[in-house]
């Protein structure tokens, strides 16, 4: 089936894109990689007057690493992130997460910003970015604002982004020396499927063995990508033992809020959350 009719604009700067956002409001839909938008269009789930293509805005396609911050443009593709030496040097977990999105051709099209703005609880990079304590940099008519990613997701397919705003970059703080990270995507069907559960952990242990910083990102087990804050609190300030890790894993499973779908039941997702949080933490800490 062909696509519905729409106007097409391809601005070359962020400012022009925002001006178009102001002009069209919710009559326009942004397209970066196009994976989500093209399917929504084809299924007639959206019928925008205008498509604003973002792929010609070079400012959205840059990766930049300074001493303190890794900045990734919103329209950088998953493949570009997976292959980026700069990203790998400070956030290898993000390379792994982007390398687990769909299949190779999908990773060549899909963008990090697209995955975040879609607000899908099953996003693979989102839990990694949450564990890395990333911020979303957003531009609008009145300037820029920086939103911690943990506050960016509002509900199913809904984010903090206003109708005249644009996500321009994801900002990842360069982790302190000695920080450990792990990313794990578990699928119960085939490798390229959406995850049953995704676990991303970043932690820093003191010389005493106590966990100083702990962040646990979870995917596919709630309406939005989430941090397992209760689980983190149990572990923070403690020396990990097998028993403590089991408690942390149970806490993560309890605060998860999964839904049943064709791939997995609510209970199965919850059980797998406990299993994989436990395995990941045991692997990192014992």
């Amino acid at each position: 089936m062909s696509l519905p009719s729409f106007d097409y604009r391809a601005p070359e700067t962020v400012e022009k894109a925002i001006a178009l956002r102001q002009e069209y409001g919710d009559d326009a839909l942004l397209m970066a990689g196009g994976l989500v938008v093209m399917i929504l269009l084809r299924e007639r789930l959206v019928q925008p007057r205008t498509i604003i293509n973002l792929s010609e805005i070079s400012a959205l396609r840059r990766i930049d690493l300074s001493k303190k911050t890794l900045r990734i443009g919103a329209a950088v593709t998953h493949s570009e992130i997976t292959n980026s030496e700069q990203v790998r040097s400070v956030a290898p977990m993000l390379c792994e997460a982007c390398g687990r999105v769909g299949s190779p051709a999908i990773r060549n099209m899909g963008t990090l910003g697209g995955s975040i703005c879609h607000g899908d609880g099953a996003s693979d990079p989102a839990p990694a970015l949450l564990a890395l304590d990333a911020d979303a940099m957003v531009s609008g008519p009145s300037g820029q604002r920086r939103i911690p990613l943990k506050n960016f997701f509002r509900g199913v397919f809904s984010t903090e982004l206003e109708e005249d705003e644009l996500l321009t970059e994801l900002l990842v703080p360069v982790p302190a020396k000695g920080t450990q990270t792990r990313f794990m995507k578990y699928t119960s069907t085939s490798e390229e499927a959406f995850a049953t559960v995704t676990v991303a952990v970043s932690l820093l242990r003191k010389r005493s063995g106590k966990c100083a910083e702990v962040r646990i990102g979870l995917g596919s087990v709630a309406p939005i990508p989430m941090r397992a804050l209760e689980a983190e609190n149990l572990l923070r300030g403690k020396v990990a033992t097998k028993e403590l890790i089991a408690d942390v894993a149970s806490a993560a499973a309890l605060e998860a809020d999964p839904a049943s779908d064709a791939q997995a039941s609510e209970q199965y997702r919850r059980d797998m959350t406990a299993v994989w949080v436990r395995r990941v933490l045991e692997d990192m800490l014992l």
Partner: protein, 158 residues
């Protein structure tokens, strides 16, 4: 009236200047407007891989791309693999390995494998399987395709 735009695109080495509807997908441009029917139209959801083509050498799903976004780019379809008077080594290897039954997934697999071998000329079997993970075949069970790609890699190495 669907808005039209002018675009220039090179397909299999041949330049075209076209007027396209902005809502036309790349696969429709390739098959309907240019008559290159080797590229296959499968799920139209980006899942099956049958419509895979190369844009500036990078494999993408032509069902999920707007034609207009390829303005100024180089597209390669399965028709562009053939060398002057012989098949591309991958095409021959697919035949030799019996990797083709109904053949619907073959053009997509060939495009994916072409780009993959360019990047990784000496792959392991596991790497080949990972590269073809997004190209669904419902006939052969993949062993033939994997064998064919490995045979080309080995042939090129010797």
């Amino acid at each position: 009236m669907i808005p039209q735009e002018k675009m220039a695109v090179t397909i299999n080495g041949e330049s075209h200047e076209l007027d396209v509807s902005v809502n036309k997908t790349l696969i429709d441009l390739i098959k309907d407007d240019l008559g290159l029917v080797g590229t296959k139209d499968g799920c139209r959801q980006g899942v099956c891989g049958a419509c895979t083509v190369l844009v500036d050498g990078v494999p993408i799903r032509s069902c999920l791309e707007l034609a207009i976004r390829c303005n100024g780019k180089q597209i390669t379809t399965v028709e562009g693999l053939r060398e002057v008077d012989s098949l591309h080594p991958l095409q021959q290897a697919f035949i030799d390995a019996g990797a083709v039954q109904c053949g619907y997934c073959t053009p997509g697999m060939l495009m994916m494998a072409t780009a993959f071998l360019k990047e990784n000329p000496n792959p392991t079997e596991e790497e080949v399987r990972e590269a073809l993970i997004g190209n669904i075949c419902r006939c052969t069970g993949y062993t033939g395709s994997v064998r064919a790609v490995l045979a080309v890699a080995e042939g090129a190495a010797t």
